[in-house]
């Protein structure tokens, strides 16, 4: 049919445009973050922005390579790719390089490669592959167990590499399961339980328990009052109350002091701005001082003079917030949300279940990174060091996110041929 028009006619240029915009914004702000008077030439490979330019060019080549691979390749080799990266995750524990306390790095040709970044892509592939299998239904316990295992196995290995942030990202794939028919309780629990956990630390226990009992009573009052419903309400009430007490206990007795500090910082209970709260406070100062229109390109003082930590990687959003202000920050947030929504809409137009679930996987992973990273710089999330997709400095993450996205763009471009 349209085969003759060529691949570039059929790819979704909106999503590619969003991708290119983000990559360009990323490079510009890495330049600003590391800018100094002695190194200001835009192609200076001793500087991070020079290296990032190489990473970007390599990413483009990768993207083009993916676009010319047969679209059935990823579906057919999903398990192989998954297996390969699981193997790499294990290998890296023993032979990898340690970067910032995490062991998950390979050094290849002078560049660091983090298999965990690619493992997310592989997991999304396999999950889509598994869910698209004909006899699989998430309503069946077996299917749910296997799906969970697909997600949790790499997550646990990554966790063992002391890369908690990346490990948590795998949990984002619960959105795919939800779309596949998983009961809404579970994703809801993902949202409700953290909120409840925070309340458990902020409010006196008795008041919280009273509120929970009131809510439960309300549910019971408006329910059909059948035995099954009543038991369910009682079970959930007891579960949440137990959760409240266990959160309080684990924070105060099980967590390491530095982890406890991070939680107190997040809850605004830590005033030691030179200690645990330093990063978040400096991040907020940088973003907040940007005002409505920002200080202008290269005019950010907080990032330029290194008050913000990790400013080209995890805290790159500070540079954007400081130099481009509310205007620039909003544009970035809108670009991201636009990308996510576009990906969901694209996923929904797939005729192949594999492509659809994979599209959801891509959107979930990117969305999770976005939420954790910007939430962290804005003091809404705990400090979890994961990169902002396409923006943060680093070849490994840029390539992994590029591959993740372009596999889907490739699938989408052949959506009429795939079933």
């Amino acid at each position: 049919m349209r085969e003759d028009k060529g691949i570039f006619y059929r790819i979704d240029w909106v999503v590619v445009g969003l991708y290119l915009a983000l990559v360009f914004i990323g490079w510009l702000n890495i330049y600003a973050a590391v800018y100094n008077e002695t190194h200001n030439h835009i192609v200076d490979f001793t500087q991070k922005y020079g290296k990032q330019m190489i990473f970007i060019i390599a990413a483009m080549l990768l993207a083009m390579g993916i676009l010319i691979i047969d679209s059935r390749f990823f579906s057919q080799f999903a398990w192989f790719i998954y297996g390969f990266f699981l193997f790499m995750l294990v290998v890296v524990i023993f032979s990898g390089r340690e970067v910032a306390g995490s062991k998950g790095w390979f050094a290849i040709a002078g560049f660091g490669i983090q298999p965990a970044e690619f493992a997310k892509m592989a997991t999304a592939l396999v999950l889509a592959k598994y869910l698209s299998t004909l006899d699989v239904s998430i309503a069946k316990l077996r299917s749910l167990a296997i799906s969970s295992a697909i997600i949790l196995v790499p997550a646990v290995i990554v966790f063992l590499q002391h890369d908690t942030g990346s490990a948590i990202v795998f949990l984002a794939l619960v959105i795919v399961l939800y779309r596949a028919g998983l009961t809404g309780f579970i994703p809801l629990a993902f949202i409700v339980l953290p909120v409840l956990g925070i309340l458990a630390l902020l409010l006196p226990k008795l008041i919280l328990v009273a509120i929970l009992l009131l809510v439960a009573g309300g549910f019971y009052f408006f329910s059909n009052r059948k035995l099954r419903t009543t038991l369910l309400i009682i079970a959930i009430s007891l579960g949440t109350i137990g959760f409240v007490f266990s959160v309080d206990y684990s924070v105060n007795h099980i967590l390491e002091p530095h982890q406890r500090n991070r939680i107190h910082v997040l809850l605004g209970q830590d005033v030691d701005l030179k200690g645990a709260g330093y990063n978040v406070n400096q991040s907020l100062i940088a973003i907040g001082s940007g005002g409505a229109f920002g200080k202008g390109f290269l005019q950010g003082t907080q990032t330029k003079y290194n008050f913000v930590p990790e400013q080209s990687t995890d805290f790159i959003f500070c540079t954007i917030g400081e130099e481009w202000g509310f205007l620039g920050s909003s544009v970035l947030v809108i670009l991201y949300v636009g990308l996510f929504v576009r990906l969901i809409l694209m996923a929904e137009r797939q005729r192949s279940r594999f492509s659809r679930f994979y599209g959801y996987g891509v959107a979930s992973i990117l969305f999770f990174h976005f939420t954790i990273n910007i939430g962290m710089t804005l003091g809404l999330m705990p400090v979890i060091g994961i990169p902002l997709p396409y923006i943060s400095y680093g070849g490994s993450s840029l390539w992994a996110f590029t591959v993740l996205l372009f596999i889907f763009i490739r699938q989408d471009s052949y959506r009429y041929d795939l079933v």
């Binding site: 779309r179 907040g288 001082s289 008050f307 909003s330 929904e348």
Partner: protein, 621 residues
């Protein structure tokens, strides 16, 4: 089939939008609604470095440099930026104890965590070089260059005054001053503060997280340059001032000399004094405490402006002027002197033996007590007034028009009014209107409740030589350029005594020198008018007083000398005044014997410590 779950895309998209919206709201709050982050950002990177201008210099009337500046360095701290300092190392560098370090830091923090406070002031140039190298080790600390006041001659300490750090009240009152700023605290440093200080500038520097200077903020767009202080041209004669202080060695009292035709003060000596260099720089506090504690010499007390003495016989000149003005006295008025003025209760105001009777001129010449008691009585009992009170009030008004009993308004802070008693005072003392001329007769010979400062005495001599007018005495004659007039002090003030009544007084004063009580002050080459006085002192030996002016025609200098506990006016005050006049008009002293006797005369029964008098050296701290 998962098709039935297709609607879940709305929930998922809705969730994405919700998070996006949450971030937008948070960004709006952080970036637009609150401004504390902007302030914190500025505190992070910007240092407001004050540029202190050099304080104005002070010259004497002949262009000699009196007060100047020397470079010094202050160690400044911004408490908020202090991060885990190596306290011991810093203490060693500036030589203080750890407890002192902690208390200073706390003090600075109390003032402001964000604004710079002086941590250690006036570091020597040597330790500055050493400190600057190590400073990067102590974030929050930096060095600011300042100037230190220096004095060419160790004299006129009270007139110059001193500067020190502005106190909390001053900072609260005047927004120009910040903690650690210097301000004139006394003397002309205080009265001419706004002229001398110049205008501070502000340089905004950018510092990175390691506290390294990264250059000026926005290319110095917001910097302000400092404006140097303006120089002052003083009317003081440095030689005369020095000479006066030399003559007053080991004596308590003062010498004030004024150029009558301009009101310019030629010298103000208050003895005992101190070396002004003692109160400059970081040795000030220590030395100030020491000087303040000296109850024997009281060197900080400015006698010339703040000590009040009964003027004694010098007041007879005022009687002569007011008596004529009131019409109860003429040059021909003659009174006999039976060895004193009877007070009616068997007692009398005594007088020394002299030819009798005398006319007005003769009475001034030999300083007859009887004569001036009669003059005073006739002023107060004047029948042209309805009451004693009215006559007294008229007398008081005319006396005060001569610049007595009220601050003259000179340009040095701390001047006192002196005292010419009010009718109310006598009402309180004797009962309403129950006092008469005889009750208060001692005023006629300058004793009793009357109090005059040495500055007022000198001005009185100037008024007489000018025949009834004066300019407010002042010590600064020009600001900025040597020929610019200080407008505040060029308005003539006229007395209530007609100029024609002064001639006879001047003639009498000339006779005092040529053949009266003040012959000891006679200088062969110079015509002079003078008057001796002896102030009764209930606490000890009388104070010796002399006022004089010279030459009689076209007068160049009017002078008052008070030497405490020195006896008669003619014994100490008159020779000292005479030497001052000779020094000023002839620039050399011929009467070496007299000079030597005066300098060596010790009337304090002791010797003021060298360390207070100084030799122009700063004492080691």
């Amino acid at each position: 089939m998962e098709r039935i779950y297709a609607d879940r895309k709305y929930i998922i998209i809705g969730f994405f939008l919700l998070i996006g919206l949450l971030f937008l709201v948070r960004l709006f709050y952080v970036q637009i609604l609150v401004d504390k982050y902007i302030l914190s950002a500025n505190n992070n990177v910007l240092r407001y470095v004050t540029q202190y201008p050099a304080r104005g210099l002070v010259f004497d009337r002949n262009g000699k440099l009196l007060v100047y500046n020397e470079a010094a360095y202050d160690l400044v701290v911004i408490p908020q930026q202090v991060k885990n300092p190596d306290t011991m190392a810093l203490c060693r560098l500036i030589g203080i104890e750890k407890t002192e370090f902690i208390s200073r830091l706390q003090k600075a923090r109390n003032y402001s965590p964000y604004r710079p406070s002086i941590f250690e002031s006036q570091i020597t140039r040597d330790s500055y070089g050493f400190l600057e190298e190590k400073l990067f080790l102590f974030p929050g600390f930096f060095v600011q260059s300042r100037t230190l006041r220096k004095y060419t001659y160790p004299v006129a300490a009270h007139t110059f005054g001193y500067i020190g750090e502005a106190g909390p009240e001053m900072i609260a009152k005047n927004p120009y001053y910040r903690s650690g700023d210097y301000i004139g605290i006394s003397g002309i440093e205080k009265s001419y503060e706004e002229i001398l200080r110049g205008k501070k500038g502000m340089k905004i520097r950018v510092f990175d997280v390691m506290n390294r200077d990264k250059g000026s903020f926005r290319d110095g767009r917001y910097d302000t340059t400092s404006v140097a202080g303006i120089d002052l041209y003083s009317s003081l004669d440095a030689d005369l001032q020095q000479y006066g202080e030399l003559l007053m060695t080991n004596k308590k009292g003062s010498i004030v000399a004024i150029e009558p035709q301009t009101g310019e003060i030629l010298c103000i000596v208050s003895s005992p004094s101190y070396d002004p260099n003692l109160l400059a720089g970081n040795i000030r506090k220590k030395n100030y405490t020491r000087l303040l504690a000296d109850s024997v010499y009281v060197p900080l007390f400015n006698r010339a402006l703040m000590a009040m003495y009964p003027p004694g016989s010098t007041f007879k000149l005022v009687d002569a002027l007011v008596g004529q003005q009131e019409g109860v006295l003429s040059p021909d008025t003659r009174y006999g002197c039976p060895g004193g003025f009877p007070l009616g209760n068997g007692k009398k105001v005594g007088c020394h033996p002299h030819p009798s009777p005398t006319d007005l001129m003769g009475a001034i010449q030999i300083s007859c007590n009887t004569y001036f008691c009669r003059v005073f009585k006739s002023i107060i009992d004047n029948k042209s007034y309805l009451s004693t009170r009215q006559a007294f009030e008229s007398w008081r008004k005319e006396v005060m028009s001569l610049g007595l009993g009220k601050k003259l308004g000179i340009d040095i802070p701390g001047e006192l009014n002196g005292n010419i008693p009010t009718p109310g005072y006598y009402d309180r003392y004797h009962g309403k209107n129950r006092w008469r001329s005889m009750t208060i007769i001692s005023l006629g010979i300058g004793q009793g409740e009357i109090g005059i400062t040495p500055m007022q005495l000198a001005n009185m001599a100037a008024v007489i030589s000018n025949r009834g007018w004066f300019y407010t005495p002042h010590v600064i004659k020009a600001i900025g350029k040597s020929d610019s007039m200080n407008v505040a002090y060029n308005t003539k003030r006229h007395t209530l005594v007609d100029p024609k009544y002064y001639d006879i007084v001047i003639e009498g004063m000339a006779n005092v020198i040529t053949g009266g009580t003040g012959v000891i002050a006679k200088i062969d080459s110079i015509t002079m008018g003078g008057k001796t006085g002896t102030a009764q002192n209930p606490h000890g030996k009388n104070h010796s007083i002399f006022i004089a002016f010279a030459p009689v025609q076209n007068t160049k200098i009017a002078v008052s000398v008070v030497v405490e506990n020195a006896g008669y006016g003619a014994t100490w005050a008159a020779p000292i005044a005479s030497l001052m006049i000779e020094k000023y008009l002839n620039r050399t002293i011929k009467r070496k014997d007299l000079e030597e006797r005066m300098i060596n005369g010790n009337l304090i029964n002791g010797k003021q410590p060298e360390s207070e008098r100084g030799q122009g050296n700063i004492l080691p701290d």
